[in-house]
Amino acid sequence: MFKDLNPLLHVQQRLAIMSILISVEEADFSYIKEKTAMTAGNLSSHTDKLSSAGYIDIIKGMKGKRPRTVFKITSAGIDAFEEYVNSIKTYINRSSD
């Protein structure tokens, strides 16, 4: 049914992460965790997959004395997300015909 959809993005958690990152310049780990209601381990696992695909950048640094992880969508991630949304629209249009 969804064979044309990007399998990496067609997973609720990863799609949620990408939807947030497409709307912002950058977001830190705790923000994404709070918005997606994921556990830290789960979030790390999904962001690692997105990063390996080149869809997001993971920037590790310090904020004051605390370690901070920031996520930023890449241009490849924007292209993949747009392609995914266009595919969904096609499916919705087809099913409404």
Binding site: H10, Q12, V24, A27, I88
Partner: protein, 205 residues
């Protein structure tokens, strides 16, 4: 656990997440506007009072505006603390920050031009342009901020500032109250900064 779902659910999730990020964008933007509004309105009224007491030609009365220097420093500290607490950075927030930084630089350049112009051409009449120019630039910045945030009180505030700029320059020619333009500036700060700032904070709550 990776969960697959329908295309409708996908679209719904995308919309929910984008809206969640968008709602965060408008949080807590009123505080600095309110601070600047109260301080500048007080300084303008203070300057008007000093003109009535000491006369318009006493250069010392304008030293009151040096109080804006600590205001700049306090604003920078507040912004940097806020940025340290911020978990998310939005493009729109960055654009607004660039707009107001650009506004501050333009005001400095414009003031330098006016003071230099007054010295070069030995014309004190040029000073009459200071307030209208600052008011019209502020009108532009607050109007664009309102349009970007889709927050109408700032848009109306911009219109108040532009009207104030025209009233100021006309008043310089036809009103015979010394320092009249400072009253106009104070009214603009109340209508364009203080009231919309409080409305924004109330909306946030």
């Amino acid at each position: 656990m990776e969960k697959e779902y329908t295309e409708q659910e996908s679209l719904q999730l995308i919309t929910e997440m984008i809206n969640a990020a968008r709602n965060d964008m408008q949080n807590g933007r009123g505080d600095l506007v309110i601070l600047w509004g109260y301080v500048i309105a007080s300084l303008a009224l203070g300057n008007f009072a000093l003109i009535q007491m000491l006369g318009v030609h006493n250069p010392l009365i304008y030293l009151i505006w040096t109080l804006t220097i600590p205001l700049f420093i306090i604003s920078a500290i507040i912004e940097s603390r806020k940025e340290r607490r911020t978990k998310v950075k939005n493009r729109i927030t960055s654009i607004i920050a660039s707009l107001w930084n650009g506004y501050a630089i333009t005001v400095c350049v414009a003031l330098t031009m006016l003071y230099a112009g007054a010295a070069i051409f030995r014309s004190s009449e040029i000073y009459a342009l200071i307030n209208p120019l600052i008011l019209s630039l502020t009108g532009l910045a607050i109007f664009v901020t309102g349009r970007i945030f889709r927050f109408k009180p700032f848009v109306y505030g911009g219109i108040v500032f532009w009207t104030g700029a025209i009233v100021c320059i006309l008043g310089s020619g036809y009103m015979y109250i010394q320092g009249f333009h400072f009253i106009v500036s104070a009214i603009c700060m109340i209508a364009g900064f203080i009231v919309p700032g409080h409305l924004l904070n109330r909306k946030k709550e």
